[in-house]
């Protein structure tokens, strides 16, 4: 799409956003700009093939609803691309119940099948219960179980790929967090397309919003009625990620383009990182047979601790 700029405004309509480069776009032009940016990302990184059984990880938040909205449009244009939504109910009282209700309503209205899997049903504990038993960081343990379930259920549903709502801000935070923790191997597992395609144990994950800033995603969600009234996860506010996010937002305000700079330069080095940390044969957990880099996967290690604590 080529937008002709007139004194920085796209046209005579009232603008809804000012992009990093200064252009002000109205609702119609921003929708065009945003959707074509996502489709371009899909083409640039070869995220989606001509025929897919595509899963969308749906939290009910703006990012995942935006991904589902755009991929649903793609599916309408290409009926060989089938869409299934997957939601994980971690069991976070007063938060996830609201977002799941939003997700269900959206799927009902848009003719998408929503598959919900819960920690309680799959592991025997809600996240709230896990955090009362173990003295661990909420986001760490939650991430382990969520990734475990998404991977396992994607495979069981025979999904060819799983799309997530990760945006440019999420990726930028992960890059900087890994740098700060000197964990470059974790950065080798970042990028717009992750997971081992050649191993049947892994569902490949794709990030169609990879080059979209969080403010752009929120603007798209707002003008298309996808924004609901709920705040961030109660466990996330004081996380390391939240502090890195605030630091990056301060830098972005002072030096516009900081986030694009970080992600674009990371993309230049990503092939080198992937080559350096190219995995050997994928191992499986001795207990559950899910993919693992150790004898026992992190989910089974946590579950053992939880069960032992409950017995004592």
């Amino acid at each position: 799409m080529q937008i002709k700029l007139n004194n920085q405004n796209c046209c005579g309509e009232k603008p809804v956003i000012q992009l990093t480069a200064g252009e002000k776009l109205c609702r119609g032009h921003f929708n065009e700009y945003f959707e074509s940016k996502v489709f371009k990302t899909i083409r640039q990184f070869d995220l989606i093939g001509k025929e897919e059984n595509l899963g969308v990880a749906l939290s009910g938040g703006k990012d995942s609803l935006t991904v589902l909205t755009i991929l649903n449009k793609l599916s309408t244009q290409n009926p060989k691309i089938k869409i299934h939504a997957i939601a994980i109910d971690e069991g976070i009282a007063g938060y996830r119940d609201k977002t799941l209700a939003t997700a269900q309503k959206f799927c009902d209205e848009n003719g998408v099948k929503l598959n919900i899997f819960s920690y309680k049903e799959e592991f025997g504990f809600t996240l709230d219960e896990m955090l009362k038993i173990l003295n661990v960081k909420p986001c760490s343990i939650c991430g382990v179980f969520r990734r475990y379930l998404l991977n396992k259920k994607s495979r069981e549903l025979k999904l060819t790929k799983l799309a997530t709502g990760h945006n440019l801000d999420d990726e930028c935070q992960s890059i900087i967090m890994n740098q700060m923790k000197n964990n470059i191997e974790a950065s080798a597992r970042l990028g717009p397309k992750v997971g081992v395609i050649s191993d049947e144990k892994f569902a490949q994950r794709i990030k169609p919003l990879y080059l979209c800033m969080e403010k752009e995603v929120t603007t798209y969600a707002f003008i298309n009625g996808l924004l609901d009234n709920f705040n961030e996860c109660p466990n996330a506010a004081h996380s390391f990620r939240a502090q890195v996010r605030d630091m990056l937002n301060d830098m972005e305000q002072k030096f516009a383009g900081t986030k694009y700079g970080i992600v674009n330069s990371f993309l230049e080095t990503l092939p080198i990182l992937k080559e350096k940390f190219r995995g050997e044969m994928v191992q499986v957990c001795a207990k559950c047979s899910e993919p693992s880099s150790n004898d026992l996967c992190s989910a089974c290690v946590y579950l053992e601790k939880l069960r032992k604590s409950v017995m004592h």
């Binding site: 929120t218 972005e252 305000q253």
Partner: protein, 74 residues
């Protein structure tokens, strides 16, 4: 003596789930409002009458403004 005109804005900040009345100088903009509330413009979108407005938009007395966080839910 020339009195400087001020305006009063009713603001809803969704991240804190709170309403506030903010007094600003007569020709203030969204940018001035965010500055006064110490909110980084990168982290929010702002609406008036359910329409998005940009940082350079002038505000009027008794405007009803919503400040919506762009931070992901998790």
């Amino acid at each position: 003596m020339l009195l400087m005109k001020t305006i009063k804005i009713n603001v809803f900040i969704d991240r804190e789930n709170k309403n506030a009345e903010v007094e600003l100088g007569g020709s203030s903009s969204v940018s001035d409002l965010l500055n006064k509330l110490k909110i980084n413009p990168v982290t929010v979108i702002v609406s008036r009458n359910n329409e998005l407005i940009l940082e350079d938009e002038k505000l009027n007395d008794k405007d009803e403004i919503k400040i919506l966080s762009v931070i992901s839910g998790g």
